[in-house]
Symmetry: C2
Subunit: 332 residues, 2 copies
């Protein structure tokens, strides 16, 4: 008997993997069915979100991290999902892939996938979640989810991750920094990449200042730049994690070793504090809700004729019916 | 008999307006009921979206536009909705308001409202849509919807508008520009503000280049910087609008008159081409869908006990049930 798609994925067949990723991205029936079959095999991977503005060298950093995971004493299988919600015609994702190819191509323990599509936002986060599940089931130990920017898309996608890195670079300007304050709330580790550029001290100072608002001041000013190194005299709160601020130069690998150590410490912290389980639960709840909403709406729309729907929209346009009245009429 | 909230709004009472805006932002029952009552009075305002990165001087420009609308031969009532989806602790929206207050405070024909909340994205776009309806019913002729950035939030909110302005400024860097290519697709008018700064030619060149990809090349390179000035020899396509690129200096008002003219021409174009009606229809369809989804999900969740839902989430966590199976079990 021929293997099912899910079986091929579990056997580690790359062609089947690539095909399934496309199917789940398009939310085809076959894709969703295979995803369902694979679900019992998920929940093992460490999901790492990496977000930052264009120009921070985020892709090179992800590249370096992948190389480190591959070169470890116990090499890890690494998947990279690069999400670029900006327009398809910027070509950013494609260019990023090409840069990565040089170092990682040919390594069967690495799989890179980019999504440059701009569907609805919910759709993008949902498609990313589905891809991550496929990689998880396929036995990838680490899944790097790379997103551009600091908008709601990034926040939603970061919610998928166990560990979220926010990447900054010197000289992007104070005004640009301002909008990033929001994303600091989701950062587990802050990285100042391109740390050889002038202005790195200013960037670090700005980040510390913003962290001081996002986190309890006394903790932050004593512990920034370190990971969980509280003095013994202080009661240790197991759920406390103060985001360290690390400097890297991805192009020559400076600081990447320290970054890898911080990622390891964060994973350890998540497991010891029970936070790993809480994040898993939150992710599965969000997924259930999204799938339930999608199913309810699809099922309901099948029960209403297009002509009836069109007629209601026409009456809305003429203002003889309000949206609430339309919903009431639709739901009988 | 006491007036209803909706009646007070139609009578132009500012206190009632402020209160209702808060209620619809929170999606309270009273707010939604009043919104429903007001719906027949909507559909008259010209909705203008203004989006751009922080540092482009977008708020000053919106301020200037409001002053122009007020100083016209037939002054228009102007509402400003400033949406800042970044973190509440940046305080950006508050600062923007304070700058605006100086010129516009005390004018009863102007109403400014900002939203700095970061709910779910759908929520933000939905809350903005509801506020716009309240202003529309309250008799505001022009509603300026200001958003920060170029993410999906901005695209979703821009879908509300009849006319969308994308504001750039010189010197924000090529890398920052790259992500903006996506937003050009929704731009009806491109504004280079702070046009007295060095680098304005580079910014204009970059925008023209990107427009050349987003729109048919031959049209753009012949017509940029002008609004619908096609040669007679060419068949005029009534639905064709080539986004003009305009330069402004909001701080001293330079170029704002030309911008106002372009906005007027765009409104005229929308009405003559039938595009105004198409955008109205698309907006009302999206609103109906959002309201229907919200109602379906709320109603369904009431029919399921929390204990049952919790139990399913627990089984998801243990991987003994897949999300699809959970949905099937919920929907019985």
């Amino acid at each position: 008997m021929a293997k099912s798609v899910a079986e091929s994925i579990l056997f580690g067949e790359r062609m089947a993997l690539a095909r399934l990723l496309t199917q789940v991205e398009n939310r085809s029936f076959e894709g969703l069915a295979a995803l369902d079959e694979l679900f019992p095999h998920t929940g093992k991977a460490h999901l790492i979100g990496v977000t930052g503005a264009p120009g921070t060298g985020k892709s090179s950093l992800v590249n370096q991290m992948a190389l480190h995971f591959r070169a470890a004493a116990h090499p890890k299988k690494v998947a990279i999902v690069a999400v670029d919600p900006s327009s398809p015609f910027t070509g950013g994702a494609v260019l990023g892939d090409r840069v990565r190819m040089r170092d990682l191509a040919g390594d069967p323990g690495v799989f890179i996938r980019s999504m440059a599509s701009r569907g609805s936002l919910g759709g993008l986060a949902q498609a990313t979640a589905a891809m991550v599940q496929v990689f998880d089931a396929a036995g990838f130990d680490v899944i790097l989810i790379e997103t551009v920017g600091a908008g709601q898309t990034e926040v939603d996608i970061a919610r998928l991750a166990h560990t979220t890195l926010v990447v900054e670079a010197p000289g992007l300007g104070d005004e640009i920094q301002a909008i990033k304050a929001g994303i600091l709330e989701i950062a587990d580790i802050l990285v100042i990449n391109k740390a050889d550029l002038p202005g790195v001290e200013n960037t670090e100072r700005a980040l510390k200042g913003m962290l001081g608002v996002a986190h309890p001041v006394e903790k932050v000013f004593r512990h920034h730049g370190q990971t969980m190194n509280l003095p013994d005299s202080e009661p240790v709160n197991a759920s406390l994690w103060v985001p360290p601020i690390l400097r890297t130069i991805a192009t020559d690998g400076t600081g990447v070793g320290e970054l890898m150590a911080a990622i390891g410490q964060h994973a350890e912290h998540l497991r010891q504090s029970g936070e790993w389980g809480r994040r898993e639960r939150a992710r599965l709840e969000a997924e259930l809700e999204a799938l339930l909403t999608e199913t309810l709406v699809r099922k309901f729309r099948l029960s209403v004729s297009d002509a009836h729907y069109e007629e209601l929209v026409e009456r809305l346009l003429q203002r003889t019916l309000s949206p609430w009245e339309a919903v009431k009429e639709l739901m009988g």
